[in-house]
């Protein structure tokens, strides 16, 4: 039961107030990473490898160091050598040694653009000149990028100490396969034997980038006492602090990270690239150092997600009951181990209640930038394959695609292949809402087709801290430690306002720096409104408890005479009429005389995050003479738990869909034969523009998560999972051609139409 009332009994939650950071952002005053400046600041820039794979024989920095205006030059030799150590500070496991070498190469460069040195100088021009003066002697090595080529026994090896985990017996020869994963449920062999229809297909995808519009940026300042202060746009100031401390060999207490506003992250800013370099340069030069990536650097060196190969096999009885499901996923990890193949495996069939499942995943290193998280990491690639295969299965069985999914849908109590049992989920609700939506019955024009696909994401909880302080005039400040990438600041303020019973305008949310608020896990995994929200609610409830105690003191009544209603201490029914209500403002005024400032904090490890499910409908129109696809209509249905601020929940759905559309149709990394990226810019890395998209309709289904005081479940990641299959299925519906390779760009569609072999 929701301790905070029925949906229509809420005053603030569920409404659509203006976001607290909104006016700053529409007037251009909000401070993003590159907007921040300190007096005496130097410019930091990075020297990068022109080779996709090479041994570093020597780096000569003397000439650069001697250039007037250059105040510091560093290479990996100037940073501590970090031993191998797994960390769980970021989104997904990361090895500190790998992270260190990703920030500055040691011994080898593993992708074009890999950083080998960094300089700090008085001006851009001097910094550029210094980079030119740094001489690096390389021994180029053969490179490999394609995932299956990297898995082949004769492939060039990236790491001679990488032995495949998850294989018995453990291999004695290194390879590019970092890990093999297996999830098994039941017996797929028996399942396929019991199936009357089997569909088997292979799917391939290319790496795609999060493509946030704001390039990475930071300013670092290190005092003579070794105290380091970093201002940066990132998805987690505590993550930045932890990573910098580790990579620089500094104590955590000596680093303070202030989060700037962040211009998009989507997972791509859940790790560090510039911050350790800027801090090291700041320390050496004795002056603040600002580092901002160019757009080209963003594409060339920061982690896009994996490209991959997914092979899916589904077997069902004639009436549509899936008896066996099998998938093999091979994902690129980039230069260091850690692709999202594991969550991809886990999410692949998570929407379905299946008796027999086998999922195998391979994490494969290759000579391109290290993968970084991208919105529901791993799941979109897997779902492109599985949901396309489901569409083929539906057609083979002559079943409506929503009905096929409904027949096999995960419900309360369904056990997934990775061991989790679903509880209080809303998947079938999304299917039902999609089925009865006007979109599903709307007529289609010539060369148009309709596709359906579903998606899932786990959503996480994790560690969050929050503080609620009552000001002398009865307004409140809510401090938390998570950068706001989707509107969470607004929803945190709304939940606090709801609990305190005051208007949202009287609650000011701020995102604190690492010294001002307790530890918080980063912004990712669709966790902030859930987990940090839970901490905020807990703190606000403690404040309310304290306010009631103060009221009891002032009124000289027993504490059980008081309840908190609409922002005031009021008599319970039993004491009706015995005293006048005391407002929060009145209590705040008397705080000093009743015990001191009124505030509370909560530091929690939020449990009970609820998974999210979505079902999308997409209509496309295909030009059969050019292969061009136009998105004609799109409807995204999602179980959002409880929409604290419906506009920003809708915004998450629309944004995720837009990224999925780009992934489906035009986005991809294009490498030349030397392993160099050919399209490191927005001209040829083609994200959707305003004229590419129609309005994106959203349907918010609310199946509250009972483990959160307001029923919240994460919403931000699910919406990027279904679009690629929804579009592929719509294209099939329009022109009878099954696209199994992303992106589904015009030349590929035209070739498929012509019946040419790929």
């Amino acid at each position: 039961m929701m301790p905070h009332g029925k949906p229509n009994g809420l005053a603030v939650v569920g409404t659509r107030p203006i976001r607290p950071d909104g006016v700053e952002k529409v007037t251009g005053r909000a401070t993003f990473g590159a907007d921040f400046s300190l007096p005496g600041m130097l410019v930091g820039k990075v020297k990068r490898s022109p080779h996709a794979h090479a041994r570093i024989l020597a780096i000569h920095v003397e000439q650069a160091r001697a250039l007037p205006g250059v105040r510091a030059v560093i290479t990996a030799a100037d940073l501590p050598e970090i031993p191998s150590e797994e960390s769980f500070v970021g989104e997904g496991p990361i090895n500190f040694r790998d992270l260190s070498r990703n920030c500055l190469a040691r011994d080898k460069v593993l992708y074009e653009g890999h950083a080998v040195a960094a300089v700090a100088a008085t001006t851009d021009a001097v910094a550029d000149a210094a980079l030119e003066l740094i001489e690096v002697a390389y021994e180029p090595l053969p490179h490999v990028i394609d995932v299956e080529a990297a898995m082949a026994p004769e492939a060039p090896l990236l790491h001679d100490d990488l032995f495949t985990q998850g294989v018995e017996p453990a291999p004695t020869q290194p390879s590019n396969v970092a890990k093999r994963i297996q999830f098994t449920l039941g017996d797929v062999g028996a399942g396929f034997r019991a199936a009357e229809t089997i569909v088997e297909r292979r799917y391939t995808t290319q790496p795609v980038h999060q493509a946030y519009i704001e390039p990475h940026a930071c300013v670092a300042s290190v005092g003579a006492d070794g105290q380091c202060h970093l201002w940066c746009s990132s998805q987690g100031q505590f993550m930045v602090r932890a990573y910098c401390a580790k990579l620089l060999g500094m104590g955590i207490a000596n680093i303070r990270v202030t989060p700037a506003e962040i211009g998009g992250g989507f997972g791509g800013k859940t790790l560090v690239y510039l911050e350790p370099l800027a801090a090291a340069l700041a320390k050496r030069s004795g002056r603040p150092v600002k580092m901002v990536m160019t757009r080209e650097e963003v594409f060339r060196v920061t982690g896009p997600t994996s490209g991959g190969v997914v092979e899916v096999k589904l077997g069902a009885t004639r009436d549509g009951k899936i008896m066996a499901a099998q998938a093999v996923l091979k994902y690129q990890a980039g230069a260091f181990a850690g692709s999202p193949v594991q969550p991809g495996c886990m999410a692949a069939f998570a929407m379905y209640d299946l008796p027999n499942v086998s999922i195998t995943g391979y994490d494969v290193v290759c000579n391109r930038p290290k993968v970084a998280a991208y919105r529901a990491p791993g799941a979109p690639i897997a779902s492109f394959a599985v949901e396309s295969c489901m569409d083929e299965l539906a057609r083979a069985l002559a079943l409506d695609p929503l009905a096929l999914r409904g027949k096999n849908a995960a419900r309360d109590g369904t056990r997934t292949a990775y061991g989790q049992v679903h509880r209080d989920i809303g998947y079938v609700d999304t299917l039902a809402a999609a089925k009865k939506h006007a979109h599903y019955a709307a007529p289609l024009g010539p060369r148009q087709g309709r596709g359906v696909a579903s998606g899932f994401w786990f959503n996480v909880g994790g560690e969050s801290s929050a503080e609620v302080h009552i000001n002398e005039d009865g307004s409140a400040v809510v401090v938390s430690g998570n950068p706001d990438i989707g509107g969470s600041r607004a929803s945190l303020a709304m939940m606090a306002a709801e609990v305190l019973g005051i208007p949202m305008e009287r609650v000011r949310p701020i995102v604190g720096d690492t010294s001002s608020i307790g530890y918080s896990f980063l912004t990712g995994g669709s966790r902030v409104t859930f987990a940090t929200g839970m901490a905020v609610v807990q703190a606000a409830e403690e404040v309310v408890a304290e306010l009631k105690r103060r009221a009891a003191m002032i009124l000289d009544v027993s504490p059980d005479a008081i309840e908190w209603k609409e922002g005031a201490a009021v008599p319970t029914d039993a004491y009706l009429g015995k005293f006048e209500p005391l407002s929060l403002a009145a209590l705040a005024l008397k705080a000093g005389r009743t015990g001191g400032p009124i505030s509370a904090k909560a530091s929690i490890n939020a449990q009970g995050a609820g998974p999210g499910f979505g079902t999308h409908l997409c209509d496309v129109e295909v030009d059969p003479e050019t292969g061009k696809v136009r998105i004609v209509r799109y409807t995204a249905v999602q179980d959002v738990g409880r929409a604290i601020h419906p506009s920003y929940v809708e915004g998450q759905l629309q944004g995720g869909v837009a990224q999925g559309i780009g992934w489906a149709l035009n986005e991809e990394y294009v490498y030349d034969r030397q392993g160099r990226l050919e399209n490191p810019g927005f001209l040829d890395y083609r994200v959707p523009v305003a004229s590419d998209l129609p309005m994106i309709d959203t349907v918010l289904v609310e199946v509250p998560n009972p483990r959160h005081p307001f029923g919240v479940r994460g919403v931000g990641e699910v919406p990027i999972v279904p679009p690629m299959a929804a579009i592929a299925n719509a294209i099939y519906d329009a022109i009878g051609v099954r696209m199994t390779d992303l992106p589904m760009s015009p030349p590929k569609i035209l070739a498929a139409l012509s019946g040419a072999t790929k």
């Binding site: 021009a125 061009k628 294009v670 001209l683 083609r686 523009v689 004229s691 590419d692 035209l750 070739a751």
Partner: protein
């Protein structure tokens, strides 16, 4: 570090002198939408930038001698807003207005688009199809040249040192004449043309084509006039046979490369498609211009 010099001449002669003096190390700054990108990336390293926008006449459109004169540095946005130009030369105008975003349109110019000499330049096929000419000023005086004589290869022009384009001229127009430009891009905006096709034609009173020029972009090192494609239209109605012949002639003329924007096969196939569609549009417009 050598300082990059900026000059903003007030007359054409001044500009010519500055360009000549710089010994090949000068670049004309018109809209800057190509030049600044190349400067920032280091692809070009001039010693002098000659900003021609302050020279009277370099920006502006006027009717003259039955046709139009467009100042070389006129932003495409101005071209797009010129009602008469749009009526008489809808193909040239729509081509110019396809260059980049609205922001790019606020600055990009025909001269810049032409002299940047990208094989995929959007305005060039339509200008060639229209029989447009350039007025070129240089050390030896002023000369006129057809637009197709300017680009000689990717990034290369036939302009001599010290020469700059000062204006484009569009000839007088008969009735029942119209042009059209279509391009193929993977998105709806913001991409470099994968294929461009311009058709300029004249119809007689019976609706038969008496003159046709078909020019393709992005399928060869420069935009190419395809006489065979134009010939496929002359003396005919726009029926299935005509379109088929036009398509085939367009394809035969293609000599594209495969790159990250398109393969040889795709460009060739789509060139035929766009030639047909542009011809259809031009025919329709010409019929409406009675």
């Amino acid at each position: 570090m050598a300082t990059l010099v900026y000059a903003a001449p007030r007359t054409v002669d001044e500009a010519v002198q500055q360009l000549s003096r710089a010994n090949g190390g000068a670049r004309v700054l018109s809209g800057g939408t190509d030049l600044l990108v190349q400067l920032q990336s280091g692809r070009v390293k001039p010693g002098v930038i000659v900003d021609v926008k302050r020279i009277p006449g370099l920006i502006g459109i006027r009717a003259e001698g039955g046709g139009f004169v467009i100042g070389a540095a006129t932003p495409c946005a101005l071209i797009g807003e010129h009602a008469d130009l749009k009526t008489v030369w809808p193909g040239v105008v729509e081509a110019a207005c396809l260059i980049g975003s609205t922001q790019v349109q606020g600055r990009a110019s025909l001269a810049g688009n032409l002299c940047n000499a990208s094989p995929a330049a959007d305005s060039v096929p339509a200008l060639i199809a229209a029989r447009a000419t350039c007025t070129i000023a240089g050390p030896t005086g002023t000369r006129e040249a057809p637009v197709e004589a300017i680009t000689t290869g990717p990034g290369q022009t036939s302009l001599a040192r010290g020469e700059l384009i000062v204006a484009f001229r569009l000839p007088a127009r008969s009735v029942r004449a119209a042009d059209a430009y279509l391009r193929f891009i993977p998105r709806t905006e913001m991409d470099i043309a994968v294929v461009g096709a311009a058709v300029n034609l004249v119809l007689d009173a019976r609706g038969l084509c008496t003159d046709a020029r078909v020019v393709l972009g992005a399928v060869a090192p420069t935009a190419i006039l395809v006489p065979e494609a134009g010939a496929a239209l002359v003396g005919r109605q726009l029926d299935e046979d005509t379109l088929r012949d036009l398509d085939a002639a367009a394809r035969r003329a293609c000599r594209p490369i495969s790159d990250k924007r398109g393969t040889v096969e795709f460009r060739t196939q789509v060139a035929g498609v766009l030639a047909r569609r542009a011809a259809g549009l031009a025919f329709q417009r010409a019929r409406e211009r009675q």
